[in-house]
């Protein structure tokens, strides 16, 4: 993952937290690769959608 890709991931995660439910991307954790990836909402993917965690936030 390049620095730019990493920063893009962070910005999308930030956006999902601010604008809950309005992101066009889903955050997916692929347990096989162990990576987080962004996919277009509704598209096919491997792994678990965890967007809810970014939307609901952290303590």
């Amino acid at each position: 993952m390049t620095n730019q890709e990493q920063q893009d991931l962070g910005e999308v995660i930030r956006d999902q937290g601010i604008n809950q439910g309005h992101s066009m991307k889903d955050l997916v954790f692929d347990p096989i690769s162990g990576d987080f990836v962004l996919v277009d909402k509704g598209s096919e993917h491997e792994g678990d959608i965890v967007t809810e965690m970014t939307e609901k936030g952290f303590a």
Binding site: M1, N3, Q6, Q7, L9, G10, I13, R14, G17, I18, F29, P31, G34, D35, F36, D48, V50, M53, T54, E55, K56, G57, F58, A59
Partner: protein, 142 residues
């Protein structure tokens, strides 16, 4: 302490999701059971997470990175910090603030806590590059 039925359910989920060599239950017959889990971030940095299971799932488990992390500016992440989503350290380890007490239910799983910790670590890696606080990336629960 977790009953046998719940422990089996948790083990089943983890076995279904993660490589068996990436986690290990520890001291399960003692008063301080915990699980140690490996986590590799997208950038390839490797961390170890400890999740204490003393009163799991009845209360939110404490979760730690098994080292004392530092901020980009070199400050040990040992205290409670809303900006960095940390709680007071224990065992000399940085404690991750994952679920708010008010958001915790007995339906949450070890796997879900692991994913939150893994996401926290992803943003920690990014913090080290950008210097932005963790709560720039990770929203606060209300």
């Amino acid at each position: 302490m977790m009953d046998e039925k719940r422990l089996l359910a948790e083990k089943r989920v983890l076995a279904n999701k993660l490589p068996p060599s990436s986690y290990k239950f520890m001291d399960m017959d003692t008063n301080n059971p915990y699980i140690v889990m490996a986590a590799k971030t997208n950038c390839g940095n490797i961390y170890t997470i400890r999740i204490d299971l003393v009163d799991f799932p009845n209360s939110k488990p404490e979760a730690f990175v098994r080292k004392m992390l530092q901020t980009k500016s070199g400050v040990p992440m040992s205290g409670a910090s809303a900006a960095m989503h940390t709680l007071t350290s224990k065992y000399g380890f940085t404690q991750i603030c994952h679920y708010a007490d008010s958001a915790w239910t007995t339906m949450e799983s070890i796997y879900k806590v692991y994913i939150k910790c893994r996401l926290w670590l992803e943003m920690y890696d990014l913090h080290l590059k950008t210097g932005k606080n963790m709560d720039y990336y990770l929203n606060h629960q209300h």
